[in-house]
């Protein structure tokens, strides 16, 4: 199966290992992965801050970049959600709405793609330890991907998954919210770190780099001994 990778700007610049793991994992599962280098950012930071005009520029670029793709796969629930939002962004725009719809329809978050399209539930991964999984708000509530990450994680050998208490709570990232509303964000991320600690997990896993940067950054600042991993890295562990 031919897959076009939308790696996200966070992964490209800050977490390239997540991108590498995604490529290697998809290849192991029999996919041919391509990466169009003219891809940039989905435009979510500007869109969520009210700069819709700027977001549209970014979106138009991405629509063109992925026009020829059969499947667009991304290791981020939040960025996949943004692609799914494009038809709304261009509502009533004769030139772009249809093209936006086509992109939205063929875009998948990584675990969603593996479970729903590749129909694989065991990727043959192995990781020793105890882990908990943070369900990101955009992936679960907006994209509607709730089961796929757990299905895949439950089949990782030697990995014990512990339920995260109050898992429905947001971690306090929210893009620019984490900066603009820092005092509130701090309370939210502390609440999340506390929940993670209660699980006594070695690893905190999630499918969104934004959340992981936030929770991980706080964990590091507080000097807690919990390793933060993206689900692509876990599923690519042998």
């Amino acid at each position: 199966m031919r897959v076009t990778l939308f790696v996200t700007c966070l992964v490209d610049n800050f977490q390239p290992n997540v991108g590498k793991a995604t490529v290697q994992l998809l290849e192991k599962l029999g996919c041919e992965v391509s990466f169009p280098t003219s891809q940039v950012c989905c435009g979510q930071p500007t869109y969520n801050s009210g700069y819709v005009k700027e977001a549209k520029h970014a979106a138009k670029n991405m629509i063109q970049v992925f026009e020829e793709a059969e499947y667009v796969v991304t290791p981020s629930g939040s960025c996949a959600t943004m692609f799914r939002e494009y038809p709304n962004l261009f509502k009533g725009d004769a030139k772009w709405e249809e093209r936006a719809k086509k992109l939205a329809e063929k875009t998948y978050e990584l675990t969603q793609f593996i479970v729903d399209i590749l129909k694989i539930t065991d990727v043959g991964a192995r990781l020793k330890g105890r882990a908990t999984y943070h369900t990101s708000c955009h992936m679960t509530r907006l994209l509607g991907v709730k089961e796929a990450p757990f299905t895949l994680l439950s089949n990782v050998q030697d990995l014990e998954i512990v339920k995260l208490p109050k898992s429905e709570n947001c971690c306090g990232f929210g893009g620019t919210f984490s900066i603009k509303m820092m005092p509130i964000s701090e309370q939210m991320v502390d609440e999340k770190v506390e929940s993670v600690e209660q699980t006594e997990a070695d690893y905190l896993i999630s499918g969104d780099c934004g959340c992981l940067m936030n929770i991980g950054g706080r964990i590091e600042r507080l000097d807690k001994q919990i390793k933060v991993m993206h689900i692509a890295e876990v599923l690519n562990s042998r």
Binding site: C41, Y51, E54, A58, R141, P183, R218
Partner: protein
């Protein structure tokens, strides 16, 4: 004042909320309890999503035909012998009620809980002509005797107080001598309120829903106080927001079920009553009935991109799941309407001058949108506010504008992106230690105030991929 409950700036209000650990404990406990109860109640009913869709349809249909249903409601009430007053502003609404009160020579008025009477500052107006106004909802009563402390929640106005704090208020204000046991405290207040119910000449209620074709007002409570307010005094005045109506009893049935389950996790509350002008064959009940229909900015929302906010049935489910509300409390919103619904509604009713920060007081986690029983896309409306603030109102701070414009340029052109991401590690080098940034500058300052920020990777993913595809690398 109107919906405004504070003169402090947003930042101060947030700090005050965060520092108030007692309040946060009370709010967090209440949220947890209400969350579980709401989930159980919706699961028990079954097909929750379909019920929500039905609720949404009913509300949308009513709003799209609001002129028709308001006319029908007005006629139904008038035909039954009641009086209807359409108030364009809060002053008009309060003045009308003042005039009725003066005509009746009333000295004592009992009220049941009503957000719209808070909105029109009714108590202040009535007290200015020497009336004694008594709030009969237990939560409202606590706040009233506590020198009119503002409500922090639209269903449970004193949700921010613990039972110990309430005991102290009763001790100080009413000479209460018993314990903080809710049963004992309620029994004590009940006795006081009974006397007021018997003495009041006018009863003022809100209106959960008005039924257009029957001219009835539906009141939903667990305390039964609204029933006493609407039945003992000789005059009953009901005050409603102009959007709070349903076509017939059939739609009322659906919405009341959604309301009670979403608000308090109950199939039905203890008292659900429909009242209205007295029918000739009825032996008792108020002799005079007035319905005050309040616009106060609502019609400006109709027909705009914010219209769906008028679908709201004031259940507070969005407030009860909101993590921001949990940490800052209701008062921090500076409005009688807090939480996600307040962050959408307050700028619309009260203007951006005082409420421009509220749409940003959300991580866009969408828990509110998920919880709303009539499917108001709350987080999307918050985004629309942000767009209006930036693009129409031009109120965004200059530094943000510059940063966003630059980011916008960098994210729509591959060349600029490449330039930016190649230069970033060099520029950031002085503030990087190891693999992280602990003391950021510019927009990063607030990030690193509480957490580490990863240093930009020396090799971007795209550089690795290029090599990898050439077959040069396999790690």
């Amino acid at each position: 004042m109107g919906i405004k409950i504070s003169n402090n700036q947003f930042k101060e209000r947030v700090s005050e909320g965060i520092e108030n650990t007692t309040m946060r404990g009370a709010v967090s406990n209440a949220q947890e309890r209400l969350y579980t109860r709401r989930l159980t109640a919706s699961q028990e009913l079954g097909n929750w999503e379909e019920w929500r869709e039905l609720g949404e349809q009913i509300r949308q249909h009513t709003l799209e035909n609001l002129d028709y249903y308001l006319m029908q409601l007005s006629e139904s009430v008038t035909n039954r012998g009641g009086h209807v007053f359409f108030a364009k502003t809060k002053e008009e609404a309060a003045n009308y009620i003042k005039e009725v009160t003066e005509k009746k020579n009333a000295r004592k008025i009992v009220k049941s809980k009503s957000m719209v009477t808070e909105e029109i500052e009714l108590n202040k107006t009535l007290e200015s002509i020497g009336c004694e106004v008594v709030e009969s909802d237990l939560g409202e009563y606590i706040l009233q005797i506590n020198d009119y402390e503002p409500p922090s929640h639209i269903v449970a106005p004193a949700l921010h107080l613990t039972k110990e704090q309430i005991r102290d208020i009763f001790q100080e204000k009413l000479g209460y001598e018993l314990s903080e046991d809710p049963y004992e405290m309620t029994k004590f207040v009940r006795k006081i309120l009974r006397q007021h119910f018997m003495e009041a000449e006018i009863g003022i209620t809100g209106c959960n829903f008005a039924v257009a074709n029957t001219g009835s007002i539906c009141l939903v409570t667990n305390e039964g106080n609204a029933d006493l307010v609407a039945s003992i005094p000789k005059t009953h005045i009901a005050v409603m927001g102009m959007e709070r109506l349903v076509p017939t009893m059939e739609e009322l049935d659906v919405l009341v079920g959604l309301l009670t389950r979403s608000a308090v996790g109950q199939k039905l509350t203890s008292y659900i009553t429909t009242v209205g002008p007295k029918y000739d064959e009825e032996a008792d009940g108020p002799e005079e009935f007035h319905l005050v229909i309040v616009d106060n900015g609502r019609s400006n929302i109709l027909g705009t991109e914010f219209q769906s906010v008028l679908q709201c049935i004031r259940c507070a489910a969005c407030i009860n799941v909101c993590p921001v509300y949990r940490h800052i409390g209701g008062h921090a919103y500076g409005s009688i309407y807090p939480g996600p619904i307040g962050a959408v509604l307050s700028p619309l009713l009260g203007g951006y001058d005082y409420y421009k920060e509220l749409p940003y007081a959300s991580s866009l986690c969408a828990a509110c949108t998920d919880a709303c029983p009539v499917k108001i896309p709350l987080h999307e409306l918050l985004l629309k506010h942000r767009q209006v603030i930036v693009e129409k109102e031009g109120r965004a701070p200059l530094t943000e504008k510059v940063a966003m414009k630059m980011f916008g340029m960098g994210t729509s052109s591959t060349n600029l992106y490449n330039l930016g991401t190649k230069v970033a590690p060099v520029i950031m080098k002085p503030i990087v230690s190891g693999e992280r940034i602990s003391k950021g500058i510019g927009p990063l300052k607030n990030w690193t105030a509480i957490r580490e920020f990863p240093a930009p990777s020396k090799e971007r993913f795209r550089d690795w991929f290029e090599d990898y595809k050439k077959g040069g690398r396999n790690e």
